[in-house]
Structure formats: C-alpha cells, structure tokens
C-alpha cells in the first residue's frame, strides 16, 4: 500500500519533470519537496524545517542512515585530502561534523609530516563553518566545546547564505557542502559562489543524497524513505512534515549526471562523482583551474 503510494508519487513527479528538461533545473529551485512554492518562500520554509529538527538532528541522522552518515563524511574528507595550512570553507555544516573531521585530518597529517617541514604551515590553517541557520551553528559550537575544540583558533563559525558568501574571491583551498545544496534555493548561484571563493587549484566537494538506479534496491529504498523515515521522524522528533520534506526534496534533486553537468557549467574542471551505497549518496567533486 505504502509502496504503491510512493511509486505513484514518483511517477507523478517524473511525468512532471520529464517533458521539460531545460526548465527543470530552474523549476527545482522553486520546489519545496513535491510542493511548488514561490522562490522567496523556499528559504523561509527550509529555515523552519531546520529550526524544528535542530535539537534532534544528530539522533535522526544516525537513525535514518543507520549510522552510515559518519562513514560518508569520513569518505568525503578522505577525498578532500586536507593539508596543514589549508583554508577550508564548509558550507551548510552547522553541526561541524565535516569541519571537525577536516581539522582532525590536518592534525594527523602534520604530525606525520613533522619532519617534512609541512608542520610549520599548520598555524595558517583556517576552517570556516558557514550555515544560514543559527540554530544549527549553535549545535556545532556546543559540540566543539564537548570535543575540546572550544579554544581552537582554527575554527570560525559564520552565519551566512551559500548563495551570497561573505568571503573574498580566491580565498579558499577547499569548499565542502554536506547534505546542504539540496536545500539551497538557487543551486546555480551556490555553485557560482563556490567557484568565486576558491583559489586556483582549489577543490569543490559535495556530499548529497542522490538517486538510486538499481531496480530492486530502488523499490526498497523508496519504501524506506516514504514510509519509514516520516514515521520515525514523527516518533522521535515529533515532526512528520519536516522529514516528509526531506525525502521529497531528495527526489526533486537533479540526478548524479545532471548535477555533474551543473558543476561543469559553473566552470569547474575534472568533475566526477562517486556513488556510495548504490547512489543513496553521491560525492561530486570539481577542481577550479
């Protein structure tokens, strides 16, 4: 029953999407889940979602992904190859998950490279965590204290919009956005901003829930996301709507290849992606030259 419903929903959305592939990306910008909303409303609605889930965010992430999101984030940071002296910007990373990993990675690299003379550049390391939602940033700050990063001079918490970053041109070595670009109103603008702030040779990495293509696994995944996740959301966080939005927004996000093309269009080189768990999550990467 539930499976049928989800299929039906998907079919509807596909019918809606397929005939106009050109305007599709733009129409995405004004979607809130499967609902159509005006552009200016989307950011407000997304803001509401994240304010309401902020307190249970970590617990829900663990429950929904069976803890896998930690591995996905580890993989993202491994792909990034952080180095001592790096200027890194983590957008939509309010909880600091990725930023802490980057910092730990840099520490271990510089410890290993002590004799190589790279360690002295560690002092120049700067990691900026940018999030549009102050509630999420507060979680991150709290967790930084718990983890003992409170005194850390490398971490900077910045409230800001991915579409209008407050950083200078060519000031960053790395840009990551984990589970965030889906919620941005204009993906193109966010990509253009990423391109602007990166230095030559800087890398863009995006971790995002994406599309599963394998037949049987796809049905299972659809059932899981349309039936289990909202129910768990209601049970644990007491907020069904937000999690309904979450799974719907995943379906509305462009698939791996389409998103890859958007990154290419933003000017990045060597654009490639890696599917994790058969496409539940994809890591896209690009290089600015």
């Amino acid at each position: 029953m539930a499976l049928q419903r989800s299929r039906c929903k998907l079919a509807n959305s596909l019918k809606f999407l397929l005939p106009r592939s050109a305007s599709y990306l733009h129409s995405h910008a004004t979607s809130f889940g499967f609902k159509e909303v005006r552009e200016e409303e989307k950011s407000k609605l997304v803001g509401n979602v994240f304010s309401s889930v902020a307190s249970n965010y970590d617990l829900m992430n663990d429950l929904m992904s069976i803890g896998l999101h930690r591995l996905w984030k580890d993989r993202l940071v491994t792909k990034l190859c952080p180095f001592p002296g790096m200027k890194h910007l983590d957008v939509a990373g309010g909880t600091g998950d990725i930023a802490f990993r980057v910092l730990e990675h840099i520490r271990s690299v510089s410890r290993r490279a002590m004799q190589d003379g790279l360690a002295e550049t560690e002092e120049q390391t700067q990691i900026y965590i940018c999030d549009i939602n102050p509630n999420m940033l507060n979680i991150g700050k709290k967790r930084a204290i718990e983890r003992g990063f409170a005194e850390d001079r490398y971490l900077h918490w910045v409230e800001g919009d991915a579409e209008a970053l407050s950083f200078e041109d060519e000031s960053m070595d790395g840009y990551t956005i984990g589970f965030g670009i889906r919620n941005v109103t204009h993906i193109e603008k966010a990509l253009a901003e990423a391109y602007r702030v990166l230095k030559r040779g800087g890398r863009f990495l995006c971790l995002e829930l994406s599309h599963v293509e394998y037949p049987v696994f796809k049905q299972l995944y659809d059932y899981y996301s349309f039936s289990v996740i909202p129910a768990v959301g209601e049970l644990v966080a007491g907020d069904r709507e937000s999690y309904q939005y979450l799974v719907e927004s995943i379906r509305r996000f462009p698939n791996q290849d389409a998103f890859g093309r958007m990154i290419v269009d933003a000017g990045f080189q060597k654009v490639e992606y890696e599917n994790l768990v058969g496409g539940v999550v994809a890591i896209h990467s690009g290089l600015k030259l």
Binding site: C81, F83, G278
Partner: protein, 301 residues
C-alpha cells in the same frame, strides 16, 4: 598472435630433430656481438602499441575515479571541451614536476606534492584530485626519464661506434644515472611501484623502457626472440637498479662494474646455449644414425 606463432614453431621444432638444435640459438641470436652497427629499422608492431595505450589512458584518467556508471561519465568526458581536460593534465604535470625537487627531503609522498603545488603557484588542494597520489608522482618521474632518454638517444651520436653489448650498457647507465639524485628515496619508489594497485602501470613502464633501450640499441626483431631479449634485459636492468640502491662507492662505480658483468654474462650464456645446441645437434645426428642402422639391420634380417 605472436605466442601462437611461437607455439606452432615449437611444435614443428619438436617434430623435426634437426630443428630442435637450431631453434634454441635463434632465440638468443640477438646477443651475438656481430650485430650490424645501428641500423634504423622500422619499429616492431608491438612497440607502437604501448605508446598508444599510454596516451589513451592518460586522456581518460581524469574522469575515471568512481566505479559504477562508467559509460555515462565517459560520455560526459566527451562532451566537455577537450582543451579543458588538456589544461588539467598540464597543471597536474606542472605540480608533479615541481614536486620532484622536494622528493629528496620528503620522499615520494603527498607532502612533497603539496610543497610542489605551493611552488607551482596552485592551491595544494589540487593534490587531492590526483588519483593514486604517490604512485602518480613515481610514474610521472618514470615517464619523464624515459622521455629524456629518448631525447638523448635521438640527439646524441655517442652510441654509433659501440658494439651491441657496450651500447646496451651505456643506455642502461644513462637511464640509471637519472635516478641517482633520488637514490636515498629510491627504495620507497620501488615499494610504491610494487604495490598491487600500481603493479600494472609500473610493469608497463618498465616494459616500455626496456623496449626503448632495445630500439635505441638498434634491434629490430619481432618474433620469439622479442620476448627473450626483453625479459633478459629487464632482468639486467632491474637487478642493477636494486644493486645501485645499496651501492655506496664513488659515483656508483661498483654498479657500473656490476652492470657490465651482467651484460657480459648474458652474452656468454648465449654462446653457451649455442654451443650446447651444436653439441645436441651432433649427438642427435649420431644417435639418429645409430638408430637408423639398428632399425635397418632388424628389417634386413
């Protein structure tokens, strides 16, 4: 194709007694010192192939990182502007080249590449986009040395007056001298090359190198000998390379002596094989005669 021809040859050699004796020396004929001084033969068919492979693999590598859905990505690679891909290759080569001076201090490592990127004026984040990091650096160095060797062979005429064995020795020496500055870190490079993931490329690069040396030495064979020759020379090159790692003599004098001895041994071995073959032939003929006589006698009776 070559191997099936070789098999056929082997079978026919088995069939006829006389040819068993002659097949063995032909496999090693290449070593005879009376080879014509530097003919410029057309390249063997198997020589062009690796060069071509290298180029296609280099072209495809930027879009190769993930496992699934390769065809879609390849399409995308095709749709992208080709100068963009070339630009990336160029930039990567620039970073790797700048990393080489740091190798002596930092080893064949990510650190050296990061330092190299800084020198090249690019954000070190680019290192993260290079697949198989350290291996890429070592492989870049190997390719670079091969190119230098080819340039040197093409420009210089110092090889002309030498006999084959000296020519081979000289070429190996030129090539090994190129890695002399990195000798303290060369064991690390060897271990990187020996890792299973990198084994394919490093094997290919060595094959190309040995092939190039044979070509420069003026060899044009492309049948069964081809494998024997390359295997033997590959063995000589690799053992000398390993010898060089632990050689502390002035300007690697011991290594060069070792190299000359290896080559001499190989040529001697060829002579020994030839002599053994002649002996076998003679013995075979004698045995044959005896046998024939014996059978004839039985039949006559």
């Amino acid at each position: 194709m070559l191997s099936s021809a070789a098999t056929r040859r082997f079978l026919s050699a088995l069939a006829s007694r006389h040819r068993v004796a002659t097949a063995a020396p032909s496999a090693l004929r290449c070593f005879s010192t009376d080879a014509p001084p530097l003919p410029t033969p057309p390249r063997g068919p198997s020589e062009e192939q690796p060069r071509e492979q290298k180029e296609t693999s280099a072209g495809a590598s930027p879009m190769r990182a993930s496992e699934d859905d390769g065809s879609a990505r390849r399409q995308r690679a095709g749709s992208r502007t080709t100068d963009g891909a070339g630009k990336y290759e160029e930039e990567q080569a620039r970073v790797l080249r700048a990393a080489l001076p740091h190798v002596v201090r930092m080893g064949w490592s990510e650190s050296a590449m990061i330092a190299g990127a800084r020198d090249a004026g690019v954000s070190p984040a680019i290192v993260g986009s290079i697949p198989r990091k350290e291996a890429a650096l070592v492989e870049f160095f190997m390719d670079d040395c091969l190119q230098k060797l080819i340039d040197k062979v093409e420009s210089g005429d110092e090889l002309k007056d030498l006999i084959l064995s000296n020519r081979l020795g000289k070429l190996i020496r030129i090539r090994l001298k190129m890695q002399a500055p990195y000798i303290s870190k060369w064991p690390q490079a060897l271990s990187i090359q020996a890792q299973p993931a990198n084994l394919r490329t490093s094997f290919k690069q060595r094959a190309e190198l040995v092939d190039e040396i044979w070509h420069a030495a003026g060899d044009s064979g492309s049948d069964m000998d081809w494998y024997v020759k390359r295997t033997v020379l590959g063995g000589i090159y690799s053992t000398t390379e390993v010898y060089m790692v632990t050689d502390h003599s002035l300007e690697f004098r011991d290594t060069w002596r070792f190299l000359d001895r290896c080559i001499k041994d190989a040529f001697d071995l060829q002579k020994t094989v030839q002599e053994a073959a002649y002996l076998a032939e003679a013995v075979g003929a004698g045995m044959g005669n005896t046998m024939q006589g014996f059978v004839n006698r039985i039949l006559r009776r």
